[in-house]
């Protein structure tokens, strides 16, 4: 895939797998059947876990949660292109990313259940925890990539964020720093059409977000974000740029948030149901199923079996998460500094004493 073939300033967009399940054979990456099925498995796993999370929230077993439904393709496709040595810097809607990277579902559940252990993701997995302040983490990705350059490693960093995030000053500074430092980082924007209730066009007057690339001297491409192959290809090409010292790349994946912004949100307040219906027809699983079926890689039975297997795994992860002890009163203090300073020793002691007294 060549970035110059898809010029966002000409309104071009990379798409391999169309909504009807047909593919552009010239562009289709050569992936073996196992991998083709793995893509489906990962998208389905995210879809199922996501829905379960919403249910858990409704049942009061989890806090506010930000669903991923509709955005699975670009997440699964992009992670597939990464090496295990590449770093991932997610935002807060990346369940399909974290699962694809191998973060236990249990861990992600713990985070949304309000347990700090959910952000204690082993460093070896090379993925940062959720970042809530929109756009702020793009700078972390830029800095991490600068560190990689400094150490002359061949790793790269991919950073996920939304269309709304591109309005934040931090995004601009991250693009600027990465551009100037030629840092090996991929800015992966999931333009899911909405930032809570604000539509993409109210976020920025540019025709495409990918048009921003040129202003940072950065390769940029717009892709169909419901097409895992497009994400795979664009990410792969961006990684090549990163590894060969050509610097950062901006990818705008045009997708759609099918569910609410979070479990606290009611999309009916700001968008027509008709729009959601229209976009549902374009969603990733539908088209990917068709693609696989065409190649005899999908049957209803297989999916049913897979679903059963995944659901069992999800339940087990939920049980594990719910079985984890809640953070204790000391935890909030003990991880503030390498060594607990005197005033926190006092405050901790006072809290523990008060709790003791209470019981």
């Amino acid at each position: 895939m060549n970035f110059t073939d898809f010029d966002p300033l000409k309104g071009e967009r990379l798409q391999v797998l169309a909504a009807d399940g047909t593919v552009d054979r010239q562009l289709l990456p050569t992936l073996d059947e196992k991998t083709l099925r793995l893509i489906f498995r990962r998208m389905l796993a995210a879809r199922l876990a996501d829905r379960r999370c919403i249910a858990l929230q409704r049942e009061g077993r989890m806090g506010t949660y930000a669903p991923v439904e509709g955005q699975e393709a670009c997440q699964v496709g992009s992670v597939l292109a990464l090496a295990e040595t590449d770093w991932i810097v997610p935002s807060f809607r990346e369940l399909a990313v974290t699962l694809s990277r191998g973060v236990p579902l249990e861990t992600t559940l713990l985070y949304w259940m309000g347990n700090e252990t959910g952000s204690r993701i082993p460093r070896s997995l090379k993925i940062l925890p959720v970042s809530i302040p929109v756009g702020s983490h793009t700078l972390h990705a830029a800095g991490m990539a600068m560190a990689i350059s400094y150490r002359k490693l061949s790793e790269a960093v991919i950073c996920y964020f939304g269309d709304g995030a591109t309005s934040e000053g931090d995004f601009h500074e991250a693009m600027t720093f990465a551009g100037v430092r030629r840092a090996p980082v991929i800015f992966f924007c999931q333009n899911n059409a909405w930032a809570i209730s604000v539509p993409r066009k109210s976020q920025c007057a540019a025709e495409s977000l990918a048009a921003k690339g040129v202003g940072y001297g950065m390769a940029a491409v717009q892709i169909d974000g419901n097409d895992p192959f497009a994400a795979y290809l664009a990410t792969g090409a961006a990684l090549e740029r990163a590894r060969s010292g050509d610097g950062p790349t901006f990818i705008e994946a045009v997708t759609y948030r099918l569910g609410p912004h979070t479990t606290s949100d009611d999309p009916a307040r700001y968008r027509d149901h008709a729009e959601e219906e229209k976009m549902r027809a374009l969603e990733p699983l539908v088209r990917y199923r068709r693609f696989l079926a065409e190649r005899s890689l999908w049957t209803e039975d297989w999916e049913r079996e897979l679903t059963g297997e995944l659901e069992a795994w999800i339940e087990q992860q939920i049980q594990k998460a719910e079985g984890q002890p809640a953070p204790g009163p000391a935890d909030g203090f003990d991880y503030m500094f390498a060594e607990l300073p005197p005033h926190l020793v006092t405050q901790k002691r006072e809290l523990l004493a008060a709790l003791e007294e209470e019981n």
């Binding site: 929109v134 809570i196 604000v198």
Partner: protein, 324 residues
């Protein structure tokens, strides 16, 4: 009308917008959606998209543009979605908004309001529960207001909008919908800079604001059973402080407990404690006690209850000052 705090602020905004064309709302999701807490619900529908602006997702942009609008004599009411997202806008506040009148010797002013929900206790996600009012109180040239009841919220936001100087309006989201209260509509203004004596008592002064006023009241009731009569001051305005009200009460009671959700060190409790000592040292029967959040990160929801001050901790502190 009996309204909760969300409805009371909504009513006040509506009244002020009807009264004065220069009042313009802006912020993330304030328009069509009516704000994630529904505080601006229906106002875009009533006054049009030019007066209730859904902005791009950028806090410095919201506040910096509001400042530009205020320089042109509009009266923008900007919303920050949560206090946890105030910080990208802080430079505009400390470097420009709080300074413009002074540096131009009154030629330009910033008659704007910046509203934001703040504080913990609703099991919100990370970054959604902090209270950093002390940072604002330390910033010269701005006023900081926190209502604790629907009626005060209504009267205070109206005063804030009409104030010729910038007002940061912190809304204790824990009690957004906690109680309904009779709210007088229309020209019902609560003055900025005046604390409210919520309860009279002779033994100890409890100072609180926002959601913790209710905890102070609960504590006072428990204490009353033990024959300790607590006086409660709801500060309402954190900057400028109603020092006179604080002094008068502590001079009477000789004891003082301050409660806030924010971290202890350099919190507003420290300032109140220092003020009390400066003005009432010889009246003090015990050191001022501070019941505060810890100097730690605010825990996620499962640990929130360890962090937040409550009636129990206030009672404990009162016991301490009573037995000093």
């Amino acid at each position: 009308m009996a309204l909760n705090m969300v409805e009371a602020i909504n009513l006040a905004l509506k009244e002020e917008m009807a009264r004065d064309d220069d009042v313009v709302l802006l912020g993330e999701d304030v328009g069509r959606e009516g704000g994630v807490f529904r505080v601006t619900e229906g106002l875009q529908q009533a006054f049009g998209a030019a007066r209730s602006i859904d902005t791009p997702l950028a806090e410095s942009g919201i506040v910096g543009c509001a400042f530009g609008m205020a320089l042109m004599s509009l009266k923008p009411v900007a919303e920050l979605q949560f206090m946890g997202f105030l910080y990208p806008a802080f430079d505009q506040i400390i470097s420009h908004i709080g300074r413009i009148r002074n540096r131009t010797r009154g030629e330009y002013t910033a008659p704007l309001v910046i509203r934001m929900p703040y504080g913990g206790g609703i099991h919100a996600p990370e970054h959604h529960s902090e209270s950093t009012e002390a940072i604002l109180v330390h910033t010269p040239g701005i006023k900081v207001v926190v209502p604790a009841t629907p009626a005060d919220a209504h009267g205070l936001i109206k005063s804030a909008i009409r104030d010729p100087d910038p007002v940061l309006f912190l809304e204790p989201k824990r009690i957004y919908r906690a109680v309904k209260e009779e709210v007088e509509s229309g020209e019902h203004l609560v003055p900025i800079g005046k604390a409210k004596l919520v309860r009279e008592g002779r033994d100890v002064t409890l100072i609180a604001w926002g959601a913790l006023v209710r905890d102070a009241q609960q504590a006072a009731e428990q204490l009353a059973e033990a024959k300790v009569e607590a006086e409660i001051l709801d500060l309402r305005t954190l900057s400028p402080l109603d020092v006179e009200a604080v002094i008068a009460s502590v001079k009477k009671t000789g004891r003082c407990v301050v409660a806030h959700e924010a971290p202890r060190t350099c919190g507003l409790g420290a300032e109140l404690s220092a003020l009390v000592m400066e003005h009432c040292l010889l009246d003090l029967l015990a050191p001022v006690e501070r019941v505060t959040g810890f100097d730690t990160v605010m825990p996620l929801l499962k640990g929130e209850h360890f962090y937040l001050p409550d009636a129990r901790r206030i009672v404990q502190a009162v016991r301490k000052v009573m037995n000093f």
